[in-house]
């Protein structure tokens, strides 16, 4: 009964994965059927491309920055949602929207909010006399601002996911231990940092590992907001692979770029297996 599922997955995940490896060391173009082994040529030409180095760096900046923000914000929000209060269900619904709505659609909402001419943020900034009407920030048009924008929109999208995972952790901490510590005279922050956060570590682990995968391999927010621009300054590995391999029809080089996702994925998968095993032991 297990076999059909395994075959399906093998055919559409296993086979393409092997093909991706073959493409990355071969000479494949759209429209031709031939295949010639070229060794590491594709990787060499990828590495020589200055756009690639930028994308590699951006991928790490994008992932690390959004994970840090998401973890801090997610913990604060989870703590605020932990105990029952009137209207909790409604608030939970509101804060979940960004994760539940299709990410391409949510990003489109931001594209309008960050519009070069009609941005509501700029309207407010002008009214508050923080910027001059003719010198408003181009949120998606200047390299640094565009990078900040895509990171923040991505955090907006993943924050609810991080929050609900952390919330599951916070509600599962047995109440008697922190309470006993309080009786013994431990203050709020001492309890938080010496008891509750260590108890939360396994679940923080889960949130971070999934967060890294969902962020490092995603291109949707960037594709919608900037298409990797201006001048490829917000390009990340997945979007560069898309532009090179699919739109640019250079399958081999695109596959080679995608391959750079693999080491980090393997590390994360290994860490997950390790923490799963540890959970089994305890």
């Amino acid at each position: 009964m297990l076999l059909p599922a395994i075959l399906y997955i093998a055919a559409l995940v296993g086979v393409p994965l092997v093909l991706a490896l073959l493409y990355s060391v071969g000479d494949v173009k759209v429209g031709s059927v031939g295949y010639r082994f070229v060794g590491l040529d594709n990787f060499r030409s990828v590495l020589e491309n200055p756009g690639f180095k930028r994308a590699l760096l951006n991928s790490f900046v994008f992932t690390i920055a959004s994970q840090i923000l998401s973890l801090i914000g997610g913990n604060i929000l989870a703590l605020a949602l932990k105990d029952a209060f009137p209207g909790r269900r409604f608030v939970r619904y509101l804060v979940l929207l960004p994760w539940v709505a299709p990410v391409s659609i949510g990003s489109m909402g931001w594209k309008w909010i960050l519009d070069s001419l009609y941005s509501v943020i700029n309207w407010v900034l002008v009214r508050l006399h923080l910027v001059k009407p003719l010198d408003v920030p181009m949120w998606l048009g200047e390299p640094v601002l565009a990078m900040i924008s895509v990171i923040l929109v991505h955090v907006w999208h993943t924050l609810p996911f991080t929050t609900v995972i952390l919330l599951a952790g916070w509600t599962s901490i047995p109440k008697d231990i922190p309470e006993a510590a309080q009786v013994d005279g431990a203050g709020y922050f001492r309890r938080l940092f010496e008891i509750e956060i260590p108890m939360m570590l396994p679940i923080i682990n889960v949130a971070v590992l999934f967060g890294i995968i969902f962020t490092f391999t995603d291109m949707t927010v960037i594709y919608i907001l900037t298409r990797g621009g201006p001048y490829d300054t917000t390009q990340v590995l997945p979007s560069l692979a898309f532009f090179t391999g699919i739109l640019g029809s250079d399958l081999a080089e695109g596959a080679a770029i995608s391959m750079f996702l693999l080491p980090l994925l393997a590390i994360v998968a290994w860490l997950m297996l390790r923490s799963a095993r540890r959970a089994e032991v305890t």
Binding site: M1, L2, P4, A5, I6, Y8, I9, L12, V13, P16, L19, A20, I76, A80, Y93, L94, V95, L96, L97, P98, V100, A101, P102, V103, S104, I105, G106, M108, G109, W110, W112, I113, Y118, V120, W156, P160, I165, S172, P202, V206, F210, I213, D218, M219, T220, Y223, P238, A241, F242, G245, I246, A255, S258, M259, L261, L265, A269, M272, S275, E280
Partner: protein, 283 residues
Amino acid sequence: MRIGRRGRAALSRVVHVGVLATFSVLLAFPFYWMLITTFKRTPDLYDLKNNPFIFNQPPTLEHLRLLFNETLFLRWFWNTTFAGAAVVVITLLFAVPAAYALARLTGDWGEKLGIGIFLTYLVPPTLLFIPLSRVVALLGLQDSLWSIIVVYPSFTIPFSTWLLQGFFKAIPRELEDAAMVDGLTRFQTFLKLVIPISVSGILTVVIFTFTLVTQEFVYALTFISSASNQTVGVGVPIYLVRGDVYYWGSLMAACLIASLPIAVVYNLFLDRFIAGFTVGAVK
């Protein structure tokens, strides 16, 4: 200055409400913005002198009319529904038996295999889309809705198998043994006992498979090249833009309609979804 016990309680209340209000506004704002944009008249939208937070002219249904009558929006909606339903059927056909087998496999093997299957869920589309675009072409499915119907189960089956396995494991084995003693075969037991008990689990899987289909972007963008075969997730952001002209009113209307219903349903099943991700980390 010392703050009394009551002062401290009041302060923590203020902080609590403040945190909740800030996050709610930040996270929900784009949806409010979609809502207000949907009903604003075009001249109102594009006048920089107007306060964008309020209606400076009476609201209008013009953008909705345009969206439903002059764009492919309804077509995309139908495509998404159809693809979603088809993927749900395929997913159930493969994942239900697999999950049951995993739940009943004894010893270390079942566990390892289960985790292995779940990990394939994490292999991202952006690693596979280039070779898959060729596989899709080979199958003659390029530019067809069927391309995503065939490919999406490759990530919905692993996730669903993992979730369902948890449900099946919770069914006491003695119950099944008793049914088999009463003369049912294993298959009959599965059909008449296990499936009815697990209805809520199966429903969860149906909802999540469907939402995963509506949220997917990369594969649909890669495999489907004509506007009329697209899903909502790609159609709205890519094909509702004509040349360089953004019809923001209709665009935001489409975004609003595509987001809200799914959010309501999803919210009902959230706790089970989280349980799937946190197995082992939360006791």
